[in-house]
């Protein structure tokens, strides 16, 4: 359960202050698939970064499973991101010198899993997204769609509480985008909480709930 209360994010560039989020209230229940939509500059990615603890809000409160994130140390946030969250970035964000298997196994390894256990779990996650035969490939040897599937595998291999996806289909062709969204659909069916930022209605339709932002505020929150 994620609860956001009166979230404000302001960016400062010298004397210029830009308020990107202007008091967002939002709550996401376990197992929900929420799409955050809005036009460019509406603040959707900024909201995702605050909720996913990648950034620090200027003010407001975020509670995750009842825990006040504002009070967390950097170390606690890091542990939270490692164990409870999964991330899928727009540009895949894979480490170029690690193979697909290693990219997926790394966070598991960081959680204390043995090499063998991490590799086994990573291989299973990659197989689940149809990349069982590309385990030893470097990101540079994979297509964009395949890289994004590796990224999803990395995000789900440790069975996180919440999967955050920031424009996961933005750099993909239609076919690859559909594959990625099918995977999300499958994950959601399995009870995975997903919060996805997108500006495409076609992909937002995969979610069960759409939160629309404009000018840093929630302008609509609807269930499909």
């Amino acid at each position: 359960m994620i609860e956001v209360k009166n979230l404000v994010k302001t960016f400062k560039d010298g004397p210029v202050e830009t308020r990107v989020l202007k008091g967002i209230d939002l709550s996401v229940k376990d197992g929900e698939f929420v799409a955050i939509m809005g036009r460019s500059g509406a603040g959707k990615s900024t909201l995702l970064y605050q909720i996913s603890l990648l950034d620090e809000p200027t003010s407001g409160r975020i509670h995750i499973n009842g825990k006040e994130t504002h009070e967390m140390s950097e170390h606690e946030k890091m542990l939270f991101r490692l164990a409870e969250f999964g991330y899928v970035f727009q540009d895949y964000a894979l480490l170029p010198e690690l193979t697909a298997l290693e990219n997926v196994a790394l966070p598991l390894y960081m959680q204390g899993a043995s090499r063998a256990a991490a590799d086994e779990k990573a291989a299973a996650a990659l197989t689940r997204v149809g990349l069982g035969l590309r385990l030893g490939n470097l990101p540079s040897q994979l297509s964009g769609g395949e890289q994004q599937r590796v990224s999803i595998s990395r995000a789900i291999a440790h069975t996180p509480d919440v999967l955050f996806a920031d424009e996961p289909t933005a750099n993909l062709d239609k076919e690859s985008s559909a594959t990625v969204m099918d995977i999300f659909k499958e994950l959601h069916k399995g009870g995975q909480t997903i919060i996805m930022v997108t500006h495409e209605d076609e992909f937002a339709a995969f979610a069960e709930r759409i939160v629309k932002l404009d000018d840093g505020k929630v302008i609509s929150d609807s269930r499909l």
């Binding site: 970064y49 950034d55 991101r81 964000a93 480490l95 960081m110």
Partner: protein, 418 residues
């Protein structure tokens, strides 16, 4: 997060980064580390080795490990036979040679000299009486003959002459020293000692960078004693070679405790070397350390720049690592491991080059300095200390830039924002 886990993940990341890094880049960094290592060890090693060469030459060609010589108030060692008898009882002594010594002059071309107002072709010299066979066995003097032949015990009127006494081998003009001209093997010269003169023939020329040999005249001890009018057996010097592993300082102390110090001066080979040489050695060692320190700073800056550029260009990936929950410490440790790799590989290759090539090469072909045969001094302990210094410096130089980048805001790093 547990430190051990950070180390494991750091190693995991470092290994993969190194394995998939450009071979050229890795090779270049390792090459820089190799050069730094050699700079650290070889520069000091040669500077110290230059002086060590003098020490070694003194030890092998002149003093042995310990030398017993006449007190400054005497021309000879009192009760020489008693001293020698005592020395022969000591198990540490493996070899000895005794020398008589006095001052004298040598004059050449006296037969062809027509103008008596002209300065004679003469020079002062230290005259050393030796047992040719024992001396050669001890110092290998015969190997230093560059012209003519070595002395035989039966040589009645033959001498060896040191190279610095001959104009063609001397170091140019030196105040107070007038080397002889037109003198070589077969030349007749007049040797004058304590007013007694004998005409002798130069049998050979001794070449040595040690002043005590290069500025001396050698003849059989029996002949010198005759010239000196001495009938006793008291010699001026006893050079002693010790059995391997014996400590010259401890042996010197033993002799002093036995009372020999009252009859003679007892010195280790290092004591007998002029003070100036020891001072030069200290100065050169300081200079070497100074150069090494500069090398160390250069290495640190090089690694800092390399790691900084690496970390800056990988800032986005560092951000991603942090974003997905990899601890900053693990990322920093990965850079420490990389720096460690460069330093250790560079040092390992450096060690192989040093002890596999340079040390044996310089030992076989010493560097020909005017006053010594320079060797490369690289004691394993000192080399080890320098390796530790290099590794530590490199690790710190690698850690600092990675820490700077890791400490940046995670999201800013991921998005490439400043």
């Amino acid at each position: 997060m547990f430190p051990l886990l950070n180390i494991r993940v750091g190693f995991y990341l470092a290994l993969r980064q190194l394995r998939r890094a450009s071979l050229w880049t890795t090779g270049l960094i390792v090459f820089v580390m190799l050069l730094t290592f050699l700079n650290l060890v070889v520069v000091t090693g040669i500077l110290v080795g230059l002086i060590e060469g003098i020490n070694e030459s003194y030890r092998t060609q002149y003093t042995g490990d310990v030398i017993v010589s006449a007190l400054s108030t005497k021309d000879y060692i009192e009760d020489t036979s008693g001293v020698i008898a005592f020395l022969k009882t000591l198990p540490h002594v493996s070899q000895m040679t005794e020398r008589y010594q006095t001052g004298g002059t040598i004059e050449a071309n006296y037969l062809t000299r027509t103008d008596l107002t002209e300065k004679p072709n003469a020079t002062g010299a230290q005259v050393i009486g030796i047992n040719p066979e024992a001396e050669n066995a001890f110092t290998g003097l015969a190997e230093h003959i560059i012209e003519g032949e070595y002395l035989a015990e039966s040589d009645y009127d033959h001498i060896l002459i040191g190279n610095f006494l001959l104009a063609k081998y001397a170091f140019g003009e030196q105040p107070g020293l007038t080397p002889l001209t037109d003198v070589g093997p077969g030349t007749k010269v007049r040797l004058t000692i304590n007013g007694a003169t004998r005409e002798v023939i130069v049998k050979g020329v001794v070449k040595s960078k040690i002043g005590e040999l290069g500025m001396s005249v050698f003849l059989p001890a029996t002949e010198l004693r005759t010239l000196m009018g001495r009938f006793d057996q008291n010699v001026a010097q006893i050079a002693i070679r010790l059995t391997p592993g014996s400590d010259p300082v401890a042996f010197k102390q033993l002799l002093l405790r036995s009372g020999i110090g009252e009859k003679a001066k007892v010195q280790t080979f290092e004591d007998s070397i002029p003070n100036g040489v020891a001072d030069i050695k200290t100065t050169f060692a300081m200079l070497g350390n100074g150069f090494s320190s500069i090398g160390l700073v250069v290495a640190a800056i090089t690694i800092f720049i390399v790691i900084f550029i690496n970390a800056i260009t990988r800032r986005k990936f560092i951000g991603i690592l942090k974003g997905i929950g990899i601890s900053g410490e693990a990322i920093e440790i990965s850079y420490i491991f990389q720096s460690l790799f460069y330093a250790v590989i560079g040092s390992a290759i450096g060690l192989a080059v040093l002890y596999g090539v340079l040390v044996p090469l310089v030992a076989a072909h010493p560097i020909d300095f005017p006053f010594s045969d320079g060797i490369l001094v690289a004691p394993p302990f000192d080399t080890g200390v320098r390796i530790v210094l290099l590794v530590l410096t490199t690790v710190i130089a690698g850690y600092l830039p990675s820490r700077m980048i890791v400490r940046k805001n995670t999201l800013d790093s991921i998005l490439g924002r400043n």
